[in-house]
């Protein structure tokens, strides 16, 4: 940087620069302020949208939580189309799937889980939906298909993936593989300090070899 002889010279230099460039400074200030206002506006809009979704979601949640015999598919559809970026959409789909399973509509429930797996932003909801989808398929005897669903990167949900995998392998009578899946699941649960009483019973039933 240049060294100025005196402060006056420095002030002179700044004044000179300003007279040459004041137009640009004004334009930049307007652009800057404009973008601040714009972003705030955008945030505000996003907040209003989120809160509308929040209220809608509460309604769906209460209906399923209270086991109410209430039609929520219309509302869930709105959620999935209008608010698909928000976790509210994925959670709503999962809640509707639960209602469908209770009503014996397994195929429709599978579709809801598939929607979450394909569209949700939150990785934990994807993991949960995959594990649930596999359990649901297994409950209908579609064991091979269920195993395929589980073949993914598993993040923090490794233990539950492995437990369900073990359950399916037991149903397929592939005992050696089931044993190994359960053993790995037990290890993964132990690493996070989870209670594994039931899993241990299932594992013991398969014997030692």
């Amino acid at each position: 940087m240049d060294n100025y002889e005196t402060e006056e010279q420095q002030v002179e230099a700044i004044k000179k620069w300003l007279t040459e460039n004041y137009k640009m400074v004004i334009v930049l200030a307007i652009v800057g302020l404009g973008s601040i206002v714009g972003v705030q506006q955008w945030k505000q809009n996003k907040l209003v949208t989120a809160q509308t979704a929040s209220v809608e979601y509460d309604h769906i949640l209460q209906a399923v939580k209270g086991n109410k015999d209430e039609q929520i598919s219309q509302q869930v559809n709105t959620m999935l189309t209008d608010y698909s970026d928000y976790p509210y959409a994925a959670l709503s789909a999962m809640l509707e799937a639960k209602q469908m399973i209770n009503a014996g509509k397994f195929a429709e429930a599978e579709e809801k889980y598939q929607w979450v797996i394909a569209n949700a932003q939150a990785s934990n909801l994807k993991h949960i939906s995959r594990v649930r989808l596999a359990s649901l398929m297994a409950a209908q005897g579609k064991n091979e298909q269920a195993l395929k669903v589980l073949e993914v990167e598993q993040g923090s949900f490794k233990a539950t993936y492995l437990e369900v995998k073990g359950d399916i392998l037991v149903a397929l009578k592939r005992t050696d593989e089931a044993r190994s899946a359960y053993d790995q699941a037990l290890q993964a649960y132990a690493a996070i300090g989870a209670n594994t009483q039931v899993l241990k019973v299932k594992r013991n039933d398969l014997g030692n070899s």
């Binding site: 940087m1 620069w17 040459e20 460039n21 930049l28 652009v31 800057g32 973008s35 601040i36 714009g38 996003k46 907040l47 989120a50 809160q51 509308t52 979704a53 929040s54 209220v55 509460d58 949640l61 939580k65 970026d85 928000y86 976790p87 509210y88 959670l91 809640l95 799937a97 639960k98 399973i101 209770n102 939150a122 990785s123 934990n124 909801l125 993991h127 949960i128 359990s135 649901l136 297994a138 409950a139 993040g155 923090s156 949900f157 233990a159 539950t160 359950d167 037991v170 149903a171 996070i192 989870a194 209670n195 039931v198 019973v201 299932k202 013991n204 039933d205 398969l206 014997g207 070899s209």
Partner: protein, 625 residues
């Protein structure tokens, strides 16, 4: 150089880029965080959120109350930190991913909060009383919003969780399974004649497991002590001094007074005008007149008091001490005699009619009963400067002439005393003090053989120590431990013999010999349990643990009992749990569902946490004593 070239291009397109780049953070994050300097260091930072020392300590305090002495402080801190981090990582994630709670949802939650309800309806007055300022209301709204956010998420996961019927059936089959077993015990004692333990074996064991036969290092210490209490004993105290001390400190010898009262409250809304106030006062006065004319106080309280906490109990407030009630109330309650009824008392709550029920405490202990304590205290006070002086010269001399305690002893007229032999685990009296033990086994005393620093024990009591004798750690001689080793080896080998026999029997059984034949040939006593489930308490625990971990196809097994005997177990039949019982089915299903929901929620927290930026300030954390 960089700045130079920026300046050169400051008139061109480059300036535009710079200014736009600079305006972005202001637009996105707001200006306030740049203006407010960061003065509070954070214990941990999760994303943009800082856990302050204050927040951390508050949480530790709350948690400590809950666990009261069950787990140690270090563990509580760890637990609290984990909780705070998990919670905040979750909240950050939820708000960043677009979950949001509207004003209406918060309002709804507050209006339905039982704390703010009177007769099943929301009461503005109660709400204002709990949360008097705008600040506290806004804080409360924020925490309600956060709570609702977390609930939306965890409820969504746990309420949508499902367990299929085949899962439930399988679990019932297994956990309600019954096994019909027979068992017999092969006693280790029976083999005692068949074994001998040679000297050679004992010697080998001794050499292989020397660690078990160690004597720890021991030291004998010389020490000088100064105790303020001992110094004080010889001080003279006069009767005048005693009675003056008693008068000056009378509060210390007096049980604080507590009073029990009832009241009738005529509550005044905070925004009441003069007219409303006069009306209320007249109403209160009317009730007071009735009471003065003989109406029953507690009946009137039930009928008229607007204090929800006490009205139903006839206005009873229980016992309270000074400083617990609002000033106007306290002044009146502490001026009444038991049974008296006050005139109208005005406080920030409204008008009260107070009836004093009884008084307890307030008496002072007589001088005679506390005389000895007082003498002790006066003596203790008197020797303060003498004590400080002695301690200082002890510290100086012991440090300047580190090779002996003699100079200190001579100068201060003290006697050098000697301890017994002690280990680093400590001894009796002052030798149990951890500070003293640290010094005794520390470098200065043990390795260099110097006087220790001044060691402050509890209650104005100091010592200086030095080493007299050191007995290094060694191994106990073989002769001393021979018997122990022999009996251990004996136990091991008779158990091994019993195991050998038991395994042989199991082989016979597997090869087709029946249990009856086997028991007759070898005169074994067979126990039949009948069909037992996992909860059975009659069968020995060691056997129970084995029985239900035996694979389905395994018929025979052995297991070691606590006393070294070996049990042979024969599974006669297995009967799976019956999933036909609807009530059982439903209860197991509910339990499994709950487990699953909880597991999915906690794993979600872990998953979210693993994707968050978390910094823990370990140094600051370790300073939080």
């Amino acid at each position: 150089m960089v700045l130079h070239s920026i300046r050169e291009r400051a008139t061109g397109w480059f300036a535009w880029v710079i200014v736009i780049l600079i305006s972005i953070p202001f637009a996105l994050w707001g200006i306030n965080s740049y203006i407010t300097p960061d003065v509070n260091p954070a214990v941990a930072t999760i994303g943009d959120y800082k856990v302050t020392v204050q927040e951390f300590q508050n949480s530790v305090q709350n948690e400590s109350k809950e666990f009261k002495g069950q787990i140690n402080d270090a563990l509580i801190k760890q637990v609290v930190l984990e909780k705070l981090i998990n919670n905040r990582a979750l909240i950050n994630f939820l708000s960043n991913s677009g979950l949001s709670i509207s004003k209406q949802q918060i309002d709804f939650q507050i209006r339905n909060d039982a704390n703010f309800q009177l007769d099943g309806k929301f009461s503005e007055e109660l709400y204002n009383r709990y949360l008097p300022s705008a600040y506290s209301k806004s804080n409360h709204r924020n925490s309600v919003a956060t709570q609702l956010l977390l609930e939306q998420f965890s409820d969504g996961i746990s309420s949508s969780s499902f367990v299929s019927d085949i899962e439930v059936k399988r679990v019932i089959q297994l956990i309600k399974q019954k096994r019909d077993i027979s068992y017999t015990i092969i006693k280790a004692e029976d083999f005692v004649d068949s074994i001998t333990i040679s000297d050679e074996e004992i010697k080998n064991y001794y050499q292989n497991f020397q660690d078990q036969f160690k004597n720890p290092e021991q030291v004998k210490l010389a020490y000088l002590e100064i105790s303020r209490k001992d110094l004080a004993k010889s001080e003279q105290v006069t009767d005048e001094q005693i009675s003056k001390y008693y008068q000056d400190n009378i509060a210390q010898y007096t049980q604080p007074e507590r009073r029990k009262a009832s009241h009738i409250l005529f509550a005044l809304p905070t925004d009441a005008d003069t007219a409303a106030k006069d009306k209320l006062k007249a109403e209160a006065q009317a009730v007071l007149d009735k009471i003065k004319n003989g109406s029953d106080f507690s009946e009137m309280a039930k009928a008229h008091s607007q204090d929800p906490g006490s009205a139903d109990n006839g206005g009873d407030l229980g016992f309270f001490g000074q400083g617990e009630m609002v000033p106007a109330f306290e002044e009146s309650a502490f001026s009444l005699k038991p049974g008296d009824i006050s005139d109208l008392v005005e406080s920030s709550f409204g008008y009260h009619i107070i009836k004093l029920v009884s008084v307890e405490g307030g008496e002072s202990k007589p001088l005679d009963s506390v005389k000895d304590d007082i003498i002790g205290s006066i003596q203790f006070d008197k020797v303060e400067s003498a004590y400080v002086e002695k301690v200082e010269s002890m510290q100086t001399i012991a440090y300047e002439q580190p090779n002996s305690l003699e100079p200190v002893a001579t100068e201060l007229n003290l006697t050098i005393q000697e301890s017994e032999l002690i280990t680093s685990a400590g001894g009796k009296g002052i030798f149990a003090n951890p500070k003293l033990l640290n010094a005794a086994f520390g470098e200065t005393v043990l390795e260099e053989g110097n006087n220790s620093d001044l060691i402050e024990l509890a209650g104005d009591h100091v010592v200086v120590i030095r080493l007299v004798e050191r007995i290094p750690a060694d191994t106990k001689p073989l002769d001393e431990v021979k018997d122990i080793i022999e009996s251990r080896l004996k136990q091991d080998s008779i158990t091994a013999k019993a195991q050998e026999k038991a395994s042989e029997f199991v082989k016979n059984l597997t090869d087709g010999t029946s249990l009856d034949e086997l028991s007759q040939e070898n005169s074994l006593i067979i126990e039949n349990t009948g069909a037992i489930d996992r909860q059975d308490t009659k069968t020995p625990g060691e056997i129970m643990r084995k029985v239900f971990t035996m694979p389905r196809e395994m018929k025979y097994a052995t297991t070691k009992m606590m006393n070294g005997d070996i049990a042979i177990i024969a599974v006669n039949s297995i009967e799976d749990g019956d999933s036909g019982d609807q009530a059982l089915f439903d209860s197991i299903k509910t339990a499994l569902l709950q487990n699953k929901g909880n597991m999915e929620t906690s794993l979600s927290v872990l998953q979210i946490r693993s994707g968050s930026k978390i910094v823990v300030n370990t140094q600051l954390l370790s300073e939080q004593e």
